[in-house]
Symmetry: D2
């Protein structure tokens, strides 16, 4: 089944599984980011989410481990004309150095490992958004966010339905994409002194 994409995405290169505009839009609108925001992203993959964030944010730093994915994402950065996106080879769970980040987006295996480091990087009331295909992954990420004192943890599934308006009749398309991934949003507590104790120390001890 061909996915119906808007022109602005149809030009992009595709490498690893991409995040679709429906989910990218939910992340942008739900997090409330804008032209002054600093965003961090991992892993970059084909870079569709990273360049989409870079279109609307001040600066985006995206971490990726694989050179072949970085090559694809660098091409998409040129196509999208987003020089404010920096693609870094590295592991967000270890290499993340930024401070006062507005939004961190995660699309990577075992993303719960990145939670303590992301918490440090986020500014108070900053948000984290995880993109997770399976419910078991959602549960692990959710539990780690709770343990680290994140608040307003919400899980959504965004379903886009295509409606055919035709002379012969109007109806939803008979077949379509039913599921891409769950998106988990969480907010770093505004005042870190008052929230439940983080498991950062324990995390680091566990290596």
């Amino acid at each position: 089944m061909k996915i119906d994409l808007p022109d602005s995405y149809r030009r992009f290169k595709r490498g690893p599984q991409v995040i679709l505009p429906k989910d990218i839009g939910l992340i942008i609108a739900y997090s409330g980011i804008g032209k002054d925001s600093l965003c961090v992203d991992a892993g970059t993959g084909s870079g569709w989410l990273a360049v989409s964030l870079a279109r609307v944010c001040n600066r985006v730093i995206s971490y990726e481990l694989r050179d072949d994915f970085i090559a694809i994402a660098e091409k998409n950065k040129v196509i999208a004309n987003t020089p404010n996106l920096e693609i870094r080879k590295g592991d967000i769970t270890k290499d993340l150095k930024e401070k006062d980040v507005d939004l961190i987006t995660l699309d990577m295996p075992v993303m719960e490992k990145a939670v303590p480091r992301c918490k440090k990087a986020l500014k108070p009331s900053g948000m984290i958004a995880g993109y997770l295909p399976n419910i078991e992954q959602v549960k692990k990420f959710f539990a780690r966010l709770e343990k680290n004192g994140f608040v307003n943890i919400r899980t959504y599934e965004c379903i886009l339905r295509d409606i055919l308006v035709r002379p012969e009749g109007t109806r939803p398309s008979t077949k379509g994409v039913w599921h891409t991934a769950y998106i988990v949003f969480a907010t770093k507590a505004p005042d870190s002194q008052k929230v439940a104790k983080s498991d950062t120390a324990k995390e680091h001890a566990n290596g």
Copy 2:
């Protein structure tokens, strides 16, 4: 039923029916707008869409006929800190003067009347997005877009499902919002000489 809203929207004032983040996100991502974009919006209503566009765009002009709605939207503009949003009292079908617009968003009755004027205002490959609750409205808007040579006309319904992750079990919430509106996207043909003749002249004659 209370609608679950992110913090950035919870602070906003509510007047007339608002457009929810799920639909705002789809409009932003699908249209591919960003920090350099010029957007036009009508009618302003509570201004949720207008301020959300202003967060991520260079400039937004929003038309509204009612003074009470303008007052609410001006408050939300302050809350969102988006001085690049200009709210104008006026009727987009007559008063729209802008040129080279990247995206026009419509949430108003009988929006098909605005199509010819919007076509003039859009730059080539610029997009229009209509937000329409009923299928009959979709069909009228769709037909007018076709008649005016718009291409890639697509109708979507964006459904957001809330997943409850709880110690007692994980499942979708039992009740929720099933429908807000259909969103119709269309693109102004890149080269206006080559597309089907517009009905602009006829439109104006009909007043």
Copy 3:
């Protein structure tokens, strides 16, 4: 995309577009038919709905115009072992003779033409169920039912989502059937003297 079918349906022959178990089940449960019920069906098509009704009802009469469809449906009647199903070559809008029918199911073009004759055939509080792919068809059928004094007219869309439970993770299937048809249910008013005047006479005059 292969449709996932239960064993009892997988054995059936397929001719014209079939009605899927999800929609057949809704018709059976919503209408409350059972072992004492008399049902009428048109058009037979591949006969999947007719044999499914015959499994759970006392008697089913199904009308079909095309000989090739009747041949397929007769085979499915044998496979399903439902001798209480009678497949008749004929046009339900003219040939329907039964009285005191509990449920009439319609899956045919221009089904609104059958409404006056169906009204006569139904017993008081008997139900009619129409299976219609497009919204324009729903509106025409709905209007005719109202005009003929049917009550409790309801339109549903039954969506079946396939959940994959696998060692590598649990999630909905990524792709699937989004739409088969709308199902419109209506009830013949319990006391025909008291309902709005039927347009039966007018219908017949219009031929």
Copy 4:
């Protein structure tokens, strides 16, 4: 939010959480049961599923532990006029004696415990259908079915959407029921000698 019910269900008494017609219909159609079928059900609850099965089957035996639920279900049995339904006080995991059962429906806590006993009661190619609100319950039931050699294990979610056809416009209802439960279907292997070893012995040992 009021649930929209057909007349045949509106007359029923409500006690514990009931199974809605959309899910009852799926169970009937998907299992392919009919007038010759023997069904077993547990727990009875308000008896909506049991009387619905009794309408279309030869005989239904429903097990329930609580006297207050049995009292409600006995009233619904009278309303539905289904003398072929027998409501037994008892625990299906211990008290189930039937043989050659066509379909067993389960709506009870910890239903995976009933799997080995149900397997004995079912005829070859007989089906089991479990109604489970949470995904964790689905996974436990699914695993037990696999361990006991059941085949064609499928998990569905049946979503019913209400479409409003009105003079002022046609659209889905804005709010509605998003989730009742997942339904897991499984088939007893046709030839028990050839399937994977059951864990029946172990189950009994664990008591």
